[in-house]
Point group: C2
Chain length 213, copies 2
């Protein structure tokens, strides 16, 4: 028999499972709303519980700190956005049609849509702001929320290297920043407008360089 | 006679000027320390005055709001850093030796040093964090603190276009983001380490592209 490290789901009736699922969704929604309204520092487990209409103990049964609740709420928001964009159960990832520029442009256009969607934008800004001054929280959220997305770009760039479309000596983890970071900075710091035309241009500049060819 | 919109300096004795200058420096230092310690929201004119050892009225004589004090304190910090790096009275800018890659690498290395200097890093993070969630403040600080630096890159890239080293159809304001924004994002969001080797690589990738040449 194999050892399982993940806890098994508790044996509950279908009704209890539905009730739990409803509470969980209400807690995620409350956490995202609250952090967007009052910021990370003033968001509390008590406040989330009150807004979700559940007892504090319901939250502490599942999570030990507000950072954990928020982390899962963001993961859930990301999954919902991916399903909405690609259909239920769709694999979240970067297409690999063989046309690297087209694939990168498509995924960056979807990111533009997400960044401009208030449901995502407001809580994400609150969390990003806290991460700037709170290195521990920043690193945890990067590891769990941002890095997994960046790894999809790494994989797509490696596939392009195999296909001879990206120079073999290029480090994909740095290369992806040429088109991901400009969009992130414009959004985070309000340094300029973001649009499909803008991200398309970033991809072209990154792939073909600024110097004459 | 020409109209002057800037107020003329008050006629004061050399001693009074020295005292003013000393107060001004103490206020800048206090503002930067305080915002780094307690964040933007909790920084007050009263707190700055108390720490600087001046009366509140001394601050209100020169500035109308804490954002204005902080803005000038950062401008002064930037000027000091530039003088320290390049000697007193030196023109702050990007060298134009004719070797675009070398010039960009030099200025980005200096930026790495600045980002890792605690005197700059701690207050800058506090202000950047506030700018993420406070669009009005963010835009004001971008316009007055960040854009002037970015315009130096625009000018250097235009000069490189004139010299045939950058493709004529490239938009310099977007192009500069290929090497500036990755560094900014790593620093702001703790998404990766920053070093000279890293910024050198960004410049090479941006100029020569990721695709085989």
């Amino acid at each position: 028999m194999s050892q399982k490290s993940a806890p098994r789901p508790p044996k509950t009736s279908p009704d209890a499972t539905r009730r739990s699922e409803k509470s969980r969704r209400a807690i995620y929604a409350a956490a995202l709303e609250l952090v967007g309204e009052v910021g990370y520092a003033k968001t509390t487990i008590e406040g989330i519980a009150a807004r979700a209409g559940v007892g504090k103990q319901t939250i502490y049964r599942w999570w030990s700190a507000k950072a954990d609740v928020l982390l899962e709420a963001f993961l859930d928001l990301g999954e919902q956005a991916a399903e909405q964009a690609a259909g239920p159960g769709a694999e979240y990832g970067i297409p690999d049609t063989g046309d690297l520029a087209a694939d990168l442009k498509a995924v960056l256009r979807a990111t533009v849509d997400e960044l401009l969607d208030p449901r995502f934008e407001v809580p994400s800004r609150a969390l990003a702001a806290e991460g700037v001054v709170n290195e521990e929280l920043g690193r945890e959220f990067v590891a769990k929320l941002l890095d997994p997305s960046l790894q999809l770009y790494v994989r797509r760039l490696r596939s392009a290297q195999d296909a001879g479309q990206v120079r073999p000596e290029v480090d994909p983890r740095i290369a992806l920043e040429l088109f991901v970071s400009p969009l992130a900075q414009r959004w985070l710091q309000h340094t300029g407008p973001i649009s499909y035309a803008y991200t398309d241009t970033l991809v072209d500049y990154a792939l073909y360089g600024l110097a004459p060819r």
